[in-house]
């Protein structure tokens, strides 16, 4: 199956998805005006991977600032992962943050509250 690569811009993160490894990687700020359009391909990749593969899925996230529409996109992805997790699928999130910026950890923490799958918030 296909891999995905979306180059980052000043207002959107670099996105790399590897089907073979079962990893979706995102790094950067996310405040595009058109979040749903921008992330449509990535959201579709996650849905397809969860539906068509049986291997684990890991999200490796180094996201800093997310505007509210990006937050909504991420919540939708986590909700979908949660559904699969409840059916026994292995899914996890590793969210990396700079220890100097506790606001990023707080944002990740609020997502984690609504997820039962392994969700690690890792200070660097």
């Amino acid at each position: 199956m296909k891999d995905l690569r979306i180059d980052g811009t000043i207002s959107s993160p670099t996105v790399i998805a590897s089907w073979q490894e079962g990893v979706l990687y995102m790094e950067g700020d996310s405040y595009p005006e058109n979040s749903y359009e921008l992330y449509a391909e990535m959201v579709a990749w996650v849905s397809q991977y969860l539906a068509q593969s049986t291997s684990p899925l890991t999200l490796e996230l180094s996201l800093l600032y997310l505007n509210t529409s990006s937050i909504k996109v991420m919540m939708d992805i986590f909700d979908e992962m949660e559904e699969y997790f409840q059916q026994g699928r292995q899914v996890s999130v590793n969210w990396y943050f700079d220890v100097d910026n506790e606001r990023v950890a707080e944002l990740a923490e609020e997502f984690k509250e609504d997820c039962h799958f392994p969700f690690q918030i890792i200070g660097k």
Binding site: E33, S35, Y36, Y65, N67, S69, M75, N101, E102, D114
Partner: protein, 178 residues
Amino acid sequence: MSAPNLYDLRERFEKDRILLCFNGPISRSLIEEIGNALKNYLKSEQMSPACALDVFAAYIELTQNIRHYAASSQLPGVEVATVIVSYDEGYYRVSAGNIVKAKDGEALVARIEALAKLDKTDLKALYKTQLRKPRDENAVTGAGLGLIDMARKSSKPMEASLQMIDGETAYFSLSIEI
């Protein structure tokens, strides 16, 4: 025609401790460019990264709100935004204003006043409820979360004002203190 009196303008900026001001049609790229300037300024001020992120977030949500409103309302002149970031007595203030339909402005002010009555716990609960609401299929963005998020970040209740221009339109402004 006389030349604009820049000295008076500068005096006003200094008196109000305005560190960034923009007035004009706002575009996606301008939001990014001004945002970058703001980020660099906040970094040079040795501000804590968390606080700098809050100021930046307030700036982005306010200006993007205006862009979304301009796109949906089709009102002439609505894309002209006034954006100010100022600093006073330990607080950063981010303010933004634009022209709105009077009835939209009234609804916004009512919503902001309702949010101002909620404490942090209530705001968080409301935020989570809104986050889970299915989004409008036609909406490209505008999760409806922006105002609640701003209310959560604001150290004092947000301040909104509405100044009537004529029977149909008004000037709406919103101010957030970080």
